[in-house]
């Protein structure tokens, strides 16, 4: 049975999508038979594999894994041709299946360990389990459900209770509240795009060190890092200016300026380099 379905069955994408009621609708421009289905229609490669396995139209226990591998690889190829976005896990699965296929085609004695047969069997079992749960879910949802098929009394009188006040809260309320407290009070990690800055502390350190070797008046600009990025240079200028004011307040340097907006000149006050440290 499985032999009939191997290799040469053309991949009928339309049938595939037709079967999958949950798939995104196939959108077609008029007069154009282009498949524009998003891979997001499938919940991961296993889901896609199961959908492909269904197109073999046999009992899942009898599908040919080799045929399935080829169907999957062809689908991925077509998707690539149609330039669909493929998530990484689909490509990882494709690589693994390609490996599996080459293993399955090897003569028995040359097969690596674990044997490709074993890997194929594992894949088979996974598909069967997923399918079983999918069917179970559908059967569960089709049962007579309270509020849809059967009804209970909407406003019963209620029974006598020993306690005067009945406080209500569900486990969900409880753990949701805890989650929100944690979300609210946890130190939030803000990832700020790295900006080149010189902090005030760094600037004070730097100006203090450089001023120690300056005997003459020197332009503030000469204290800035020479080959810095323009952004860092701006930050350094601002910080160094504030650092200068701070050092002047501490009496460690003197500042001189000819007129408004003119260059700022600084030098160490006499003896300040000794008082440092």
């Amino acid at each position: 049975m499985s032999d009939e379905t191997t290799s040469d069955t053309p991949l009928d994408v339309n049938a595939l999508l037709g079967d999958a009621d949950w798939a995104e609708p196939v959108r077609r421009a008029p007069g154009e038979a282009v498949l524009t289905v998003s891979v997001e229609s499938w919940e991961g490669p296993l889901d896609l594999l199961l959908a492909l396995a269904r197109t073999q139209k046999v009992d899942l226990r009898e599908i040919s894994i080799l045929a399935l591998v080829e169907q999957y690889l062809r689908f991925i190829e077509e998707a690539a041709e149609l330039r669909l976005e493929l998530a990484a896990d689909y490509l990882v699965m494709a690589a693994w299946l390609a490996y599996l296929k080459s293993g399955l085609l090897l003569p028995k004695e040359a097969q690596p360990d674990p044997s490709p047969e074993e890997l194929a069997l594992r894949l088979h079992l996974r598909l069967q389990r997923l399918e079983a749960m999918r069917e179970a879910g559908a059967r569960l949802m089709a049962r007579d459900r309270i509020g849809r098929d059967v009804f209970i009394r909407p406003a019963p009188e209620g029974l006598h209770r020993p306690k005067a006040i009945v406080w209500q809260a569900s486990l969900y309320d409880l753990i949701q509240a805890y989650g929100q407290i944690k979300a609210r009070t946890a130190p939030r990690i803000h990832v700020v795009a790295r900006r080149l800055v010189m902090t005030l502390d760094e600037a004070i350190e730097r100006v203090s060190q450089l001023i120690g070797v300056q005997i003459e008046w020197a332009d503030l600009l000469s204290f800035l890092p020479a080959h810095a990025d323009p952004q860092l240079r701006r930050s350094a200028l601002a910080s160094s200016f504030v650092a200068t004011l701070e050092l002047a307040r501490l009496g460690r340097i003197e500042i001189r300026q000819e007129e408004t907006f003119a260059p700022l000149y600084l030098k160490a006050t006499a003896g300040s380099s000794e008082t440092r440290t």
Binding site: G158, A169, I175, Q176, A177
Partner: protein, 195 residues
């Protein structure tokens, strides 16, 4: 008694109704063309002397508990009260961190805890004083009770989902930080009022 399909439908509609229904309404809900009155009187006879009775009041029909058995019912119709947000949060912190003092609860919540909040939880039977912390001031510490476990269907406190589980379940997402901040702000104000 074997009922006809029509009578069964009438019975089901009355049972699932939010309130007393007029015969025309019953017929419409049951999808019946015929008059439902014969079915109603037959059903009323059938329920005679049972735990439930079918009664007609001002042209509307409804099931009720047999009058002579009404002592099993709640006398005063007290509304089950929903625990306040502050109380749920406080309870959650006690459950996750027990035993904890009030100051510790406040530190975790980031908001003051009103005295009334702990009282409510104690009245509900979910928390209990569990001794004192041997630190200056010897503050009272709180823990959860067995009633707490049974009410929330837990076999032990270890059943509570951990932080990783909460994150995976999507419960740690700061859904809307601004909203949250506003909410906790108003909680703070409310708690202060309560004091």
């Amino acid at each position: 008694m074997t009922l006809t399909m029509a009578a069964r439908l009438v019975e089901a509609v009355l049972f699932a109704a939010e309130g007393p229904l007029m015969p025309q309404e019953i017929a419409r809900h049951a999808g019946l063309e015929e008059s439902v009155l014969p079915h109603l009187t037959a059903l009323a006879d059938h329920y005679e002397g049972r735990g439930i009775e079918l009664v007609e009041r001002g042209g509307r029909w409804h099931f009720q508990t047999a009058a002579d058995l009404s002592y099993i019912l709640r006398r005063e119709r007290e509304e089950p009260r929903k625990l306040s947000r502050a109380a749920v949060e406080t309870l959650a912190i006690i459950a996750y961190h027990e035993p904890v003092s009030r100051a510790e609860i406040e530190a975790i919540r980031g908001v003051a805890v009103a005295k009334g909040t702990l009282d409510v939880l104690m009245e509900a039977g979910w928390i209990r004083p569990a001794g004192r912390r041997e630190v200056p001031g010897r503050p009272l510490i709180y823990a959860t009770t067995n009633d707490f476990l049974s009410h929330f269907g837990l076999s032990s406190r270890r059943d509570l989902p951990g932080i990783d589980d909460l994150r995976a379940a999507g419960l740690l997402d700061p859904i809307d930080l601004a909203m949250e901040a506003m909410e906790s702000q108003s909680l703070l104000e409310k708690d202060e009022d309560e004091d």
